[in-house]
């Protein structure tokens, strides 16, 4: 070891990981948005949808929750190009493939929390809103959704945290995000412990920051009866 850890950190590790960090964020943010969107749709459909739609979304959720994310990532990147319909096949670049994989998988988990939030609302709540003369839409807008959102928020937030961590899987399909960059640096320098532990710190910071932000959001929406369960 020719240079000290601090010099190594300053000269190579931080600049390299910084670049990786931006790529990580470029993967995480769209995946998260996609996941929330899919989760919202699937969650609502699983509760209120007609029977065939309900069954379809249930199947989607159990498929994506029942298999490892890495298998799914592998599928979208390596296997999808092999599926040709009428001579056409879809080839995704590594980053879009990761976003699709993360978004679809995350959506399946998110839908669980949305569904739970919707189901946790007592039937009397809607009934009371209707009895006051509200239309179903008004009842859903001003009574069901605000409550369901608060109930689902901790779970959905947790899922976002998972997404941050599992975005590291993008490195497996050649995306040079945090983990990918770190692997490259480790290979070139043979300073494995330093590189990977520093990488761990990066994720810890990201995860802790996100947790803190989510708690802020939860607390700002908190009303008695819907408090955050301290853990």
């Amino acid at each position: 070891m020719s240079t000290t850890y601090l010099e190594f950190l300053r000269a190579e590790l931080v600049p390299g990981l910084m670049e990786g960090l931006w790529t990580s964020i470029a993967v995480i943010v769209p995946s998260a948005a996609l996941g929330v969107l899919i989760g919202l749709f699937a969650g609502v459909l699983r509760v209120y949808g007609p029977r065939p739609v309900r069954q379809f979304t249930e199947a989607y959720v159990s498929l994506f929750r029942g298999t490892p994310l890495v298998v799914q990532v592998f599928f979208w990147y390596f296997a999808l190009p092999y599926i040709s319909i009428g001579g056409h096949s879809i080839v995704l670049d590594a980053i879009p493939a990761s976003i699709l994989a993360f978004g679809l998988c995350s959506g399946a988990y998110q839908s669980e929390y949305i569904r739970g939030g919707l189901l946790s609302i007592k039937r009397g709540q809607i009934r009371a809103a209707l009895a006051l003369g509200m239309t179903t839409r008004q009842a859903v807008q001003s009574v069901v959704l605000p409550q369901a959102f608060r109930r689902a928020l901790p779970g959905c937030g947790n899922e976002l945290i998972y997404l941050i961590k599992y975005s590291s899987l993008a490195s497996i399909i050649t995306v040079n995000e945090l983990t990918g960059t770190a692997t490259t640096i480790a290979k070139n320098t043979w300073r494995n412990i330093e590189v990977f532990c520093t990488l761990g710190v990066y994720y810890l910071v990201l995860v802790t920051l996100a947790t803190w932000l989510l708690h802020l959001l939860e607390d700002s929406l908190s009303v008695p009866g819907f408090e955050r369960h301290k853990s």
Partner: protein
């Protein structure tokens, strides 16, 4: 896509892929046991320990829940364990084996999660349980061992089945450090046969089946140790 080709490839790949199940199951069993062995004392410390111990457990949990499994695999396999196994005292202990690294990573992470499960279960027990045990002259250690834990462990079984399915899916990451479990074999075969589609489906089905079997087994366990009328009170 030629289906008959895919079928032949799948049939030929099946025995090899199923061979990976042993490794996957080994990983999960090792990790769950390690997680249990560490998770229970961690939870007890977290609830009943003095504040430095509680703080230490919090930090432990924060660390293992905050760092991605994949990164931990790299830290342990390429970093810590590789270095440890060069020390004269520890060489020849097999610390440089990818399987050991994977079990350690999955087990330590699981212990962090399991400690949270047990902590929730312990805290959901009525305070009167500990009081009643003390009133009968038990020491705290006796009370925790013979009154609190048997109840808390029962209450934890449903959460366990969730933990199992998470571990199962995370175990697929062990391929990155060279454990020849299902995912590793799927990747190898997919590239030699050029049938990645059927191979991913095959791997998916195997994982799906393993999830199902494990969840079923745990619900059987739950029924076996069930005491009539004993369920968790309220939503904890």
């Amino acid at each position: 896509m030629d289906f008959s080709l895919a079928y032949t490839a799948t049939r030929e790949a099946l025995p090899y892929m199923l061979g990976g199940v042993i490794w996957t199951v080994g990983l999960i069993c090792g990790a769950m046991l390690l997680g249990l062995a560490l998770g229970v004392p961690l939870a007890v410390l977290h609830v009943y320990g003095p504040w430095p111990a509680r703080r230490a457990v919090s930090i432990y949990v924060w660390l293992f829940r905050g760092i991605p499994i994949l990164v931990q695999m790299y830290i342990f396999y390429f970093g810590l364990l590789a270095w440890l196994s060069t020390l004269p005292l520890l060489s020849g202990l097999g610390l440089d084996s990818p399987f050991v690294a994977a079990v350690l990573v999955l087990g330590l992470t699981s212990s962090a999660y399991q400690s949270q499960i047990f902590r929730g279960a312990i805290q959901s027990l009525p305070a009167g349980q500990l009081k009643a045990a003390r009133a009968m002259g038990m020491t705290d250690a006796q009370a925790i061992r013979s009154i609190i834990l048997p109840q808390a462990l029962r209450l934890s079984i449903p959460a366990w089945s969730n933990e199992y399915s998470i571990l199962l899916k995370d175990s697929a990451l062990a391929f990155t450090i060279g454990v020849v479990e299902i995912m590793a074999r799927m990747r190898a075969i997919a590239s030699t046969t050029h049938e990645p589609v059927s191979m991913t489906f095959l791997a998916g089905i195997i994982f799906f089946a393993l999830t199902w079997v494990g969840v079923k087994a745990l619900s059987l366990l739950e029924n076996r140790v069930r005491i009539a009328g004993y369920t968790r009170q309220g939503a904890a």
